[in-house]
């Protein structure tokens, strides 16, 4: 084993088991990796690949239900395998800094930011006086990109935005002046423009401080764009390893190639249906039209939040209209109003000839036969007590329609085996659940489906399958979609028209090609520039 001090972190054939009930299931099966000084390494994998378990193992932060069954971990040339908490505490913070996944839960809510950074400074630096500690903490906040460090020092976590919280966490990771930083999905809970700034900053730190960075991510685009070297993990094993250029040029494993194909940013144009397109129906007026929608929420003590401000859109028959924007843009509020879940304060929505904003509860029910909705999270949108059959039958029974073989037919339409009919949602994977949710939305043969972030909770390879399914169904049945998403890559794959939203207002709207090629608005340009992997040319792909 080479023990050059150049290697900051060396993991050798690490194996970790997880306890499920009485059994131990392997989560990481003999994984090796190294990070050298000044190197940016990314570890890519989908959920369940064992990537988080691997770095928890490396940091000695495994939960009680997991145990290391083999392999070694070394920082610099110190082998720390089997060290207890007390000894590991000397390594953590001091030699290795950690940036956690969710900034919203990773700071202590009842302590000021300053106190939390100060602790990290005190644990890891030689005895010193209070002023020096304070100065070091402030310096650390500044290095993390919080220019107004004095103010942040006295604030509580809830007073900061998500991006600022993540910077505070980076400050905590930097406070012990570590040689290497391990970041576990540090930006997956953040908006895409914030993600870009945080990643830019991490990359800058590496250059400025000469530290090594190990980034764990599910987003191949992010990994390819930022790192020197990437490792791809699947089912607890490394299936691909190498410099970015090499992986892009010729991935050796099938899995990596599939991931590359699935990444939305790698496709230049819209997905094509795998079936012959149904001859276009009579091209009539818009199937869904919204005008001047305004919606204000009243907050505590009379303050108001304008979630929608004079928003509108037009959905052409048989096409997909995407609504994009970052959190707080009002896109989900808009989707809820389009689907008739909420009423706007002012403005109208027309579905065909009906003005649904003017309908009573009963009449609205009838419109539902034409207008269906698919939720973001397939883990919460299906009643856990129902079987798949009952779930899909529910809309049919609600309207007193015969069920016949509709369940089997609908399951086939979403490419699920009929054997799934008697299972419950708990026995299905995320992708399978979302297929069931789509089958349920199709049961009444609607003309319009509103999909609210319908693929955002899914892994990228599953996401690709669901998107293809949606495109196929559209071609086959002449459906119109309203597709709400935060992911511009996905928009390019499925949408014909796009509406960009910011702070409740429509910033820009038009055909996808036009808007993406010649964005008229600054904000649209920012969004497009922030898409991870946007700069990478599709390597010989369509």
């Amino acid at each position: 084993m080479t023990t050059s001090t150049d290697q900051l972190l060396t993991v050798g054939a690490l194996a970790v088991d997880y306890r499920t009930g009485r059994q131990w299931t392997p989560a990481v099966r003999g994984v090796s990796l190294t990070v050298r000084a000044g190197e940016f390494v990314s570890l890519v994998g989908e959920s369940g690949s064992g990537k988080t378990t691997l770095i928890q193992g490396a940091l000695g932060l495994l939960p009680d239900a997991a145990r290391i069954t083999g392999g070694s971990i070394a920082y610099a040339d110190v082998d720390v395998t089997g060290w207890n908490d007390r000894k590991m505490a000397l390594v953590r913070g001091n030699y290795v800094g950690f940036v956690p996944q969710d900034p919203n839960t990773s700071l202590n809510p009842v302590k000021r930011i300053g106190t939390q950074v100060l602790e990290a400074v005190r644990f890891n630096r030689p005895r010193n006086d209070a002023t020096a500690y304070r100065e070091a903490a402030l310096e650390s906040l500044r290095t993390a990109g919080l220019t107004d460090a004095e103010r942040v020092f006295h604030q509580y976590p809830h007073e900061l935005s998500g991006g600022m919280k993540q910077r505070a966490l980076i400050a905590i990771a930097l406070a012990g002046q570590p040689r290497i930083i391990v970041a576990d999905e540090p930006t997956s809970a953040l908006d895409v423009t914030v993600q870009k700034r945080i990643l830019d900053h991490l990359a800058g730190l590496r250059e400025r401080l000469g530290i090594g960075i190990l980034l764990v991510t599910h987003d191949l685009g992010v990994a390819l764009e930022r790192s020197d070297r990437i490792l791809v993990m699947q089912s607890g094993e490394i299936v691909e390893e190498g410099p970015v250029a090499q992986v892009l040029a010729g991935a050796t494993s099938d899995y990596t190639r599939r991931l590359l194909d699935a990444a939305p940013s790698r496709h230049a144009g819209r997905l094509q249906p795998r079936l012959p397109v149904r001859p276009a129906g009579p091209a009539g007026g818009p199937v869904l039209r919204a005008d001047g929608l305004t919606r204000t929420y009243r907050l505590h003590g009379g303050r108001q939040l304008r979630a929608l401000d004079d928003a509108g859109l037009i959905v052409r028959p048989g096409t997909t209209h995407a609504i994009v924007g970052e959190s707080g843009a009002g896109k989900s509020t808009l989707a809820g109003i389009l689907a008739g879940f909420h009423r706007p304060d002012t403005g109208t929505v027309h579905a065909g000839d009906h003005e649904i904003t003017a309908l009573g509860r009963k009449q609205l029910r009838d419109v539902r036969r034409d207008l269906q909705f698919v939720f973001q999270n397939p883990f919460t949108s299906l009643d856990p007590r129902f079987t798949v059959r009952r779930l899909i039958e529910e809309p049919l029974k609600a309207f007193g329609l015969p069920t016949g073989d509709r369940v089997g037919e609908l399951l086939r339409a979403v490419a699920l085996d009929e054997a799934f009919a008697d299972r419950r949602p708990g026995q299905l994977s995320g992708g399978q659940r979302q297929r069931v949710a789509i089958a349920r939305a199709l049961a009444l043969n609607p003309r319009i489906i509103v999909l609210d972030e319908a693929v955002s909770a899914l892994d990228v390879s599953v996401q690709a399958q669901i998107l293809q399914l949606l495109v196929d169904l559209q071609a086959e049945r002449g459906l119109s979609y309203v597709f709400v998403t935060h992911d511009l890559g996905v928009v390019r794959l499925v949408a014909d028209d796009v509406t960009v939203m910011k702070d409740g207002r429509v910033v820009e709207t038009g055909p996808v090609g036009t808007v993406f090629r010649e964005p008229a608005h600054d904000y649209t340009r920012q969004l497009l520039a922030a898409v991870p992997g946007a700069g990478l040319t599709p390597a010989g792909q369509v």
Partner: protein, 317 residues
């Protein structure tokens, strides 16, 4: 902020008023003939009608219900809950006579219970030995399962009759306080410990604890600096339940150990159907409950900056 305080005070006052009303309905309206409640059931048939009428008039039972209600409410507002049937003394005096004794017992038991509960939660979180954690975590559900009258009797049997360490009854000196104190503290500690064990466990798995580990903090440091305050806050939410347990426990403890106090007075008052005294006690207890919840509602924003922020933001500009 002002709106929040007003709202909470208003709610507390409503609870006290409503408790008074419920008690009035239960004790003065529902019984077919409330006068009967004033006499010993065994002698009821031997009492001349004329005496009954005089008593009814004395208590105002012959007036319309609504007038009786307003009359009693008016007096209650000035602190007059009428006279105890048994002793003939004003209800308020009867209560204030025995109140200190119960207060000492309940306050001491509460302190002991909180100490026990925190001790259990801390040991369960801090220990790395699974068997010790299981053992300690099993204790609270045992504590709430053993009836107070049984544990009191066991205490008496062991520490008073067998070992002779403490007197078996009475209320003079600290030695007579020990056994009732422990008897009362154990069932009160149970639910608090259950809640704390759960919230310590949840908080110990929280994201910010991972951050602290990564900072290089040690297990005990994390428990003291990070987990403790976040995990202790939920204990305040069951202050009401705790208070109820204290009251129920002191009724039985005071009976078992023959101590004077509100608990035993309640039992005697109900046994002798001393209606005005019972009404007075119920209203007093409800008022204390409302006061405790009010204090908790006012303390929470002080301890939790998120709550404080939500309230200050809500203040009229």
């Amino acid at each position: 902020m002002l709106r929040y305080v007003t709202l909470k005070v208003g709610r507390a006052l409503f609870v006290v008023w409503a408790a008074f009303t419920v008690t009035f309905v239960l004790l003065f309206v529902l019984p077919a003939n409330p006068v009967d409640l004033l006499f010993d059931p065994a002698e009821i048939n031997s009492i001349p009608a004329e005496v009954r009428e005089r008593v009814a008039e004395n208590y105002g039972f012959n007036k319309p219900v609504i007038l009786q209600y307003l009359d009693r409410l008016g007096h209650a507002l000035t602190g007059d809950f009428g006279n105890s049937v048994q002793s003939g003394r004003p209800v308020v005096t009867a209560i204030t006579d025995v109140l200190p004794s119960t207060l000492v017992l309940a306050a001491a038991a509460l302190v002991l219970a909180v100490l026990i509960a925190f001790g259990i939660a801390l040991v369960a979180t801090a220990t790395r030995r699974p068997w010790l954690r299981d053992l300690v975590e099993a204790w609270p559900s045992g504590a709430v399962s053993v009836p107070v009258f049984l544990s009191g009797i066991l205490m008496l049997q062991i520490f008073s009759f067998r070992l002779g360490w403490f007197p078996s009854f009475g209320d003079d000196g600290w030695r007579s306080l020990i056994l009732p104190l422990v008897t009362l503290a154990v069932p009160v500690a149970g639910p608090i410990a259950q809640l704390l064990v759960r919230s310590f466990r949840t908080e110990f798995a929280a994201g910010y604890v991972t951050t602290s580990w990564a900072k290089g903090a040690t297990r005990s440091g994390i428990i003291v600096r990070d987990v403790f305050r976040n995990a202790a806050l939920p204990a305040l939410t069951i202050a009401g339940v705790t208070f109820g347990n204290l009251i129920a426990g002191s009724v039985i403890t005071e009976t078992v150990f023959a101590r004077k106090g509100i608990g035993r007075m309640t039992q005697t008052a109900i046994n002798t159907l001393d209606v005005p005294l019972v009404a007075g006690i119920v209203v007093l207890v409800a008022a204390t409950f409302a006061l405790i919840n009010l204090i908790v509602d006012l303390i929470c924003p002080v301890l939790d900056p998120r709550l404080r922020a939500a309230l200050t933001a809500g203040a009229p500009a």
